[in-house]
């Protein structure tokens, strides 16, 4: 049997993927939007719905960043509510291991797993910064080098809590009066640099035993963390060359932890634009890119790399001729800004200027060019072929799709591309089992 494609859907969050200015764009906060989105994903037999997280509103130049969608609901609460209006769809929440405590997070995911009858998943992330920490009373923030260490020990502790009811079941024998198979369930003790806790966990073992674990980081530490303990990776490499390299690298790390290549799924985020023809899709994709990168967005993006106030800068002209400021606090807070990603801002600025000059691009055009393109553009058949090709060639095990219209942008994909993947025999026509682990083909712990 050919390799099967896994698909999931990411409800667009607070970045400029979302074209909120499109007349078709709806609320990103009302529950009906999440319900429609989730039910569309389930109609397309998607494995799960994915929610990102942000714990502080972004700022630029000391003010709240107002050009993209701002605001989002609480992850656990939305996912629990979605469990009521879906039957099969996995519910994946991004939850931070820095600004939470293991007992509470273990309890919330175990509760979600019970309340969804085995559909809960946790994407473990590791923000660490002081900026986010200002919203939390406890623990504050971490040194950057400690974040994966805390995440690792946090996850280990949560696993210990989930496992603390192993072998204990609810027998609820009314005759004998015995409620559990064993008295005194949930005992745990964990002591290390970050946590010194003991007692009894108070949620019985959930349908999946342990909810599915996702990991999203891409650093050396992040890859190792995923290879050691994650069930799936939410990666950013959706191109053929980069994707294959990442896939090989991470799958190659599994053996040393006694795991097989099937124990970890690699699922990059991917965007798409569909048209009746490839040419029409290209044209539409161009329009979407222009909408995603308004003149104001382009200016703000350049300010992040230049780390300089460019309020009066004309983005229809050339890039700034001066070099980025390398000293001083970052102008952008609360996001992985361009500046944080660039090892050498001056070199990157030079590279961009050269590219803009060679291709005769304005500053805004350049931003549109370098901030990436939609992963899959084309007629439905083109997109289905491409997805199939990527999965068969081990670029990934499937994709987490991020539509640019909230909440109905997923529907064209489900209606037009999914049937073609089914015809190819690379995509399910019904759900495999009742839990997310069943559908992802993952073992039960």
């Amino acid at each position: 049997m050919v390799k099967q494609v896994h698909l999931a859907a990411h409800f667009p969050g607070v970045n400029n993927t979302t074209v909120w200015s499109d007349p078709a764009a709806g609320s990103h906060i009302e529950f009906d939007s999440f319900k429609r989105f989730a039910q569309t994903a389930e109609r397309g037999f998607f494995d799960f719905l994915f929610l990102a997280e942000g714990l502080r509103l972004r700022e630029q130049k000391g003010r709240i960043y107002d050009l993209d969608v701002v605001g989002r609901p609480d992850t656990f609460t939305v996912l629990a509510a979605l469990a009521a209006v879906t039957e099969h769809l996995g519910l994946t929440g991004t939850i931070n291991s820095t600004f939470n405590e293991p007992y509470e997070v273990a309890r919330q995911f175990a509760s979600l797993d019970h309340l969804s009858q085995g559909r809960a998943a946790w994407n473990v992330v590791t923000s660490w910064d002081r900026f986010t920490g200002e919203n939390f009373r406890r623990g504050g923030y971490l040194a950057q080098e400690d974040r994966y260490e805390r995440a690792r020990t946090f996850l280990q502790t949560v696993n210990e809590l989930w496992d603390s009811w192993s072998g204990v079941s609810v027998v609820a024998d009314k005759e004998s009066g015995r409620f559990l198979s064993e008295a005194g369930p949930g005992r745990f003790r964990h002591e290390d640099r970050f946590f010194d806790i003991e007692g009894q966990f108070n949620v019985p073992r959930s349908p999946q035993g342990r909810p599915v674990i996702f990991q999203a980081g891409d650093s050396e530490d992040g890859r190792e963390f995923a290879a050691q303990g994650a069930d799936a990776i939410f990666s950013r490499y959706a191109t053929l060359t980069e994707g294959k390299a990442f896939y090989e690298d991470v799958k190659g790390r599994l053996a040393k932890y006694g795991r097989s290549r099937d124990d970890l799924l690699i699922l990059p985020a991917a965007s798409f634009v569909l048209g009746d023809t490839d040419a029409e899709a290209e044209e539409l994709a161009h329009q979407v890119r222009r909408a995603q990168v308004s003149p104001q967005t382009a200016r703000n993006f350049l300010e992040q790399l230049w780390n300089t106030d460019l309020a009066d800068f004309d983005v229809d002209g050339p890039l700034p001729s001066f070099d980025p400021a390398v000293e001083g606090d970052l102008i952008s807070k609360g996001r992985a800004s361009v500046r944080q990603l660039a090892k050498d801002p001056v070199a990157l600025a030079n590279e961009w200027r050269a590219k803009a000059e060679a291709e005769k691009l304005s500053a805004r055009d350049l931003v549109i060019e370098v901030t990436g393109r939609q992963t899959f553009i084309g007629a439905p058949a083109t997109v289905a072929d491409r997805i199939d090709e990527f999965v068969q060639q081990d670029v990934s095990d499937g994709f987490i799709l991020v539509p640019h219209i909230t909440p109905d942008g997923l529907a064209p994909f489900v209606d037009q591309v999914v049937p073609l993947l089914q015809e190819k025999g690379v995509y399910r026509t019904e759900y495999d089992g009742t839990t997310l682990r069943d559908n992802l083909g993952l073992k039960y712990p």
């Binding site: 003010r63 656990f76 009858q117």
Partner: protein, 391 residues
């Protein structure tokens, strides 16, 4: 027509009586299933009740207050109350949903957005019951700070009262942060102004800049202001220090009087402490209800037998007929009551199918929900103005 009563039901496990799970109609195997909670809340909604509360704790149940007892003849384990409330929200349209949160061990930032989101999912029917977590063994589940052990057996002594006051002061700060975060977005902050490319008017988002003795929180919330503006804040109290929290921080206090006189005294004490702030006061009652008083008393005796102990409670235990309970509710003359069914689903259906029709016959309880109700609306409370909105 007399003033209308308000009614809530407090849901907990198989019911409040420790013997409840062993009764013939109990569903102890389903306590961790979504269907169980949906069935209960839908039944409460059929009775047009104002609200249901969901109990919670960050430790296992125990007969021994303040310590684990590892008894194996009691219900053990529970699901997160906020998530249960969220799970039933899309299935309901009329009833208020009020989960318990433990303020001592959780982050006000997280809870504020969780309850705001519950309010979105329930279209304006969310509340929260704020509880302090005092038990030393629950502190050990978090290990974040050294605390002087609270000793329930010495609760009346000055050092324990001082300790209690500190926990409740922290609770008051917690509620203040949660409330400021709900207000940290003005209602019309989302503008989607295509001409200027701005999604929000950031002048309508506010840093809350809370600085207190126990924690500081910057804000604004990541979640916009919820439909009710301020979801309903409630707390349970048994003595002066909790009454102060109820009076200064909540919209609704649950209290546990034993008589009409005590009910009146407690209610006026809270009004006095509130000093003009509007706070509703409801009495909690554990209820064992049957068609005859004898049947109710017999069943209570059977529950005690199944539990192996005579049940006691912080609240008055009422065993009798729905009509007798209706008499008591009218005699006590409070604005509302939170009834704790001793046995689920039995005592819940006695409330919805016995007590409610009786109160309706007497003209003191609603016969249907208004269209698109909010919880505040059901209780006759206004939608509060935003504290940050400039005139």
């Amino acid at each position: 027509m007399t003033d209308e009563l308000h009614l809530g039901v407090a849901l907990d496990g198989a019911g409040w009586h420790p013997g409840a799970w062993r009764r013939p109609q109990a569903r102890p195997h389903d306590l961790f299933s979504p269907r169980y909670w949906a069935d209960l809340v839908l039944e409460a909604e059929r009775g047009h009740l104002d609200l249901v509360t969901f109990e919670d704790a960050l430790n296992l149940q125990s007969d021994q207050l303040g310590a684990q007892d590892d008894r194996n003849d009691r219900v053990q384990g529970r699901l997160d109350a906020v998530l249960i409330a969220a799970r039933v929200a899309p299935l309901t349209t009329g009833i208020g949903l009020v989960p318990t949160v433990i303020a001592t061990h959780t982050e006000p930032f997280h809870i504020s957005k969780a309850i705001a989101t519950l309010d979105f999912a329930a279209r304006g029917r969310a509340g929260v019951r704020v509880q302090l977590g005092l038990w030393p063994h629950a502190f050990r589940h978090f290990g974040r700070r050294e605390v002087p052990a609270f000793d329930l057996s010495r609760i009346g002594e000055p050092d324990q009262q001082r300790l209690l006051a500190e926990y409740f002061d922290e609770g008051a700060d917690y509620v203040e942060v949660v409330r400021r975060l709900w207000d940290s977005w003005e209602d019309d902050a989302e503008i989607r102004d295509v001409a200027t490319g701005r999604f929000v008017d950031r002048d309508k988002l506010h840093y809350i800049d809370f600085e207190g003795r126990w924690f500081s929180v910057k804000g604004p919330s990541i979640t916009p202001r919820p439909p009710q503006g301020q979801p309903l804040v409630t707390a349970l109290g048994h003595q002066e220090i909790p009454y102060q929290l109820i009076a200064r921080a909540t919209d609704l206090g649950f209290v546990t009087p034993n008589s009409a006189a005590e009910a009146a005294a407690t209610s006026s004490r809270i009004a006095e402490l509130a000093a003009g702030r509007a706070v509703s006061v409801w009495a909690d009652l554990v209820v064992v209800l049957d068609d005859t008083e004898q049947a109710a008393r017999d069943r209570l005796a059977n529950l005690n037998e199944l539990a192996g102990v005579e049940y006691t409670s912080d609240a008055k235990i009422f065993a009798g007929t729905p009509a007798q309970l209706a008499d008591l509710l009218q005699e006590w003359d409070l604005t509302g009551y939170r009834l704790r069914p001793a046995e689920l689903p039995h005592d819940l259906t006695q409330i919805t199918r016995g007590l409610v029709p009786e109160l309706q016959r007497r003209g003191v309880f609603r016969t249907e929900y208004p269209s698109n109700p909010t919880l505040r609306g059901l209780l006759g409370l206004e939608r509060p103005a935003n504290r940050y909105t400039s005139a």
